[in-house]
């Protein structure tokens, strides 16, 4: 890791120019280094956005396959991790659809596996709430979904989200507002049922 100091914080980028060049050249060692450094964060976002671990894994793979081609757009005005999340956002569409279809099929069959936990009742409630949220997220437009996941689950600021999605901060805030309003309605309806 001597040639690249990677990420120190989310606001400042310390990615060395040499690493960017190596990534552009599809250097396997460079890709591996970046993966080791950021895969957890990227996967976490992918799982939270998609709501399905398998689909999220495919999305993570897509992100690191697309990285050498996308790194040309990296200007160093954000952290590499943020840039990776933005790649994930750009590749998320199909994976979100696939996960939503899978979720819908599982809800019809009611064959979701039960979690193994010392507190099964609590886990079941928590899981049920999470599933309701994911089902509600499936009915949102993708841009609103991305905004609310980044804001409410990933705890990112509007500025960061604006950088990731490539939209003005005001637009991001509007998306979050509309998304939360719709989610409230959907969660209430879902709870009443």
């Amino acid at each position: 890791m001597a040639e690249s100091e990677m990420i120190v914080g989310d606001e400042v980028d310390d990615t060395s120019h040499a690493l960017v060049v190596r990534l552009k050249e599809r250097d396997v060692a460079a890709i591996t280094a970046v993966y080791r450094e950021h895969h957890v964060a990227v996967r976490r976002f992918a799982q939270r956005l998609v709501g399905d671990v398998e689909a999220a894994e495919d999305l993570v793979q897509d992100v690191f396959v697309a990285l050498p081609s996308a790194i040309g757009r990296f200007r160093g005005d954000c952290a590499l991790r943020t840039f990776l999340v933005s790649i994930a956002v750009n590749h998320a569409k199909n994976h979100v659809r696939a996960a939503a279809r899978r979720r819908a099929a599982l809800s019809r069959l009611a064959s979701e596996p039960e979690p193994m936990s010392p507190d099964p009742h609590h886990d079941l409630e928590r899981r049920a709430l999470g599933d309701r949220l994911m089902t509600a997220l499936d009915s949102l437009p993708l841009d609103q979904r991305v905004a609310v996941v980044l804001s409410e689950i990933e705890d990112r600021t509007s500025t960061e989200i604006a950088t990731i999605v490539g939209a003005p901060e005001g637009t991001v805030r509007t998306r979050i507002f509309h998304a939360k309003r719709k989610l409230r309605e959907l969660m209430t309806k879902g709870g009443e049922r």
């Binding site: 599809r26 709501g51 690191f64 409230r184």
Partner: protein
Amino acid sequence: MSTDRHQPSMVDEDAVLANAFRSVRSEYDGEREEADLTLQRALFQTRVQKKRQRITRWALLPAAAVLIASTAWAGATGRLPSVSTMLDAIYEGREHTPPAPVPSSTSLRVPTSSTAAAFTADPTPPAAREPAAREPAASGVVASSPPSAGSAESAPASSTPSMVPSPKAARVTEALSASSAPGPTPSAPSAAAPSMARAAENAASPPRAALAPPAPSSSASDPHAALFAEAHRLHFTEHDPARALAAWDRYLDAAPNGRFAPEARYNRALALVRLGRRTEAQQELAAFSNGMYGEYRRADAKALFDALARDASSP
């Protein structure tokens, strides 16, 4: 009141939503046992992409550059037409098409004299496509020694051009039938000759484009094209059948197997008709109507031949 009632419900909803967000946050922490497997898959795909990129960069791009450069060089040095002719020959050789005097398909569509087509056609056909040696009878006409039909038919089969009959044939037939229709039918054979000549002239009158001199490229690649052009000019521009006949003979003497030889022979027959030398003209036309050149000018020649025969037999 309603606001008071609404307020707690909003708070409840927000709490539910917040709990749901928290639940998702805690459920998905980004850890996965298969993380290394995902890395391996990503690296495999990256290697494949890199390989493709390398092939594109080191093989396809240089090959494309070489192709472009060589094409530009061939175009600049004038080698491109010969390459295209060579490819043409290879292509036609594969198809085993019979040799044709005028290979260009455009010539097949020209309804009037194929002279025009001959000028516009590819000037450097393969030698195999040219008709066989000119029958001695043709030159014998000038030497007032009429050729026999047998000599015309004795030409090798390979010289038979495969041409689609020109639509002009129908018009020739009409013109000839008009000339032989009841009316001022000439009583003497000598008087019939001019009407035939007119018919022949109508049949062979070239379009405006045909009157244009041969393109420099065709002259450059066919040394006898100038002779043909001269004969064509005398025939169709100056309307001087005697000098045209001599010019056609000069061309045929110089290039008996030339690219335009069949057309020159046909035009020579027309000149003979205009000069009233019916017997010689018929002998020349017989070669065409007997199929010595395949379908090339066959219908035109037959119509003209029949018209000459009818005029000869009419009182």
